[in-house]
Assembly symmetry: C2
Homo-oligomer: 142 residues x 2
């Protein structure tokens, strides 16, 4: 069970709840919010509380086991993929896409940060996603 090992790797003591939340994050790379996770797990874990979801996600991000994304002004979103990559938020449909981090950027970390010690990097892009763009084309009257 991958999620279990993932917790150990990040010095997080496993519990039923923690395993379930990590598993959900790893199996559903859709950048869910705390509420999304609670709603998804609640049916199969009726005693799960939202507080536990919040506590657990906070723990994960502190331990580096998940990324806390603040790309969407309305919600905090979570990502089990902690490798260096960028995110794109569609202003129309609200989806968050993963983007390869452009090669040019990868070199940049820890270089020329003006003396600050960097431990987290977030590259956010916002606009209209290609799916919403193509819907525009379909319905346009030329």
């Amino acid at each position: 069970m991958k999620s279990y090992e993932r917790l150990l790797e990040h010095n997080i003591k496993p519990s039923m709840q923690r395993i379930a939340i990590m598993e959900y994050l790893m199996d559903n790379p859709i950048h869910p919010s705390a509420d999304d996770i609670y709603t998804a797990l609640s049916p199969s874990m009726p005693t799960l509380s939202k507080t536990t979801v919040y506590n657990t996600l906070k723990l994960f991000s502190e331990q580096g086991a998940a990324l806390m994304l603040t790309i969407d002004e309305k919600n905090t979103n979570f990502d089990a993929d902690t490798s260096v990559h960028s995110h794109f938020l569609c202003r129309r449909c609200g989806h968050i896409y993963d983007l390869k981090c452009p090669e040019a950027i990868k070199q940049v970390e820890n270089v020329d940060m003006d003396g600050h010690q960097v431990s987290e990097v977030h590259y956010y892009y916002k606009g209209i996603c290609k799916n919403c763009l193509s819907k525009d084309k379909e319905t346009r009257i030329d």
Copy 2:
């Protein structure tokens, strides 16, 4: 008066409140929150309401006259400098620093965005700032 012209440039009809808020943003490039701005202006504008500050900042960011930063999970911060640059948040003191956007990154926009139409770019770094680092050194017992 610079802030007045700035509003016109972005098709924002000037008003006392809008001018004051833009002026505060331009004169205080400390990435204030809505509440910071309200608190700062309130003494000299006793009838100013927080609602107006929120409405105005929303308008500014929609019109491209200011950036809405979501680097800090707790607060939304605003920046009158809309040129391409990065931000660094110190986890210890909470300050947000402007950073030159590394040359390598500047080229990247609108390139290889996987077909998505990008209208906003946010580069966020988090960690411990150089000032907090040097305080650590002073008090360390070697």
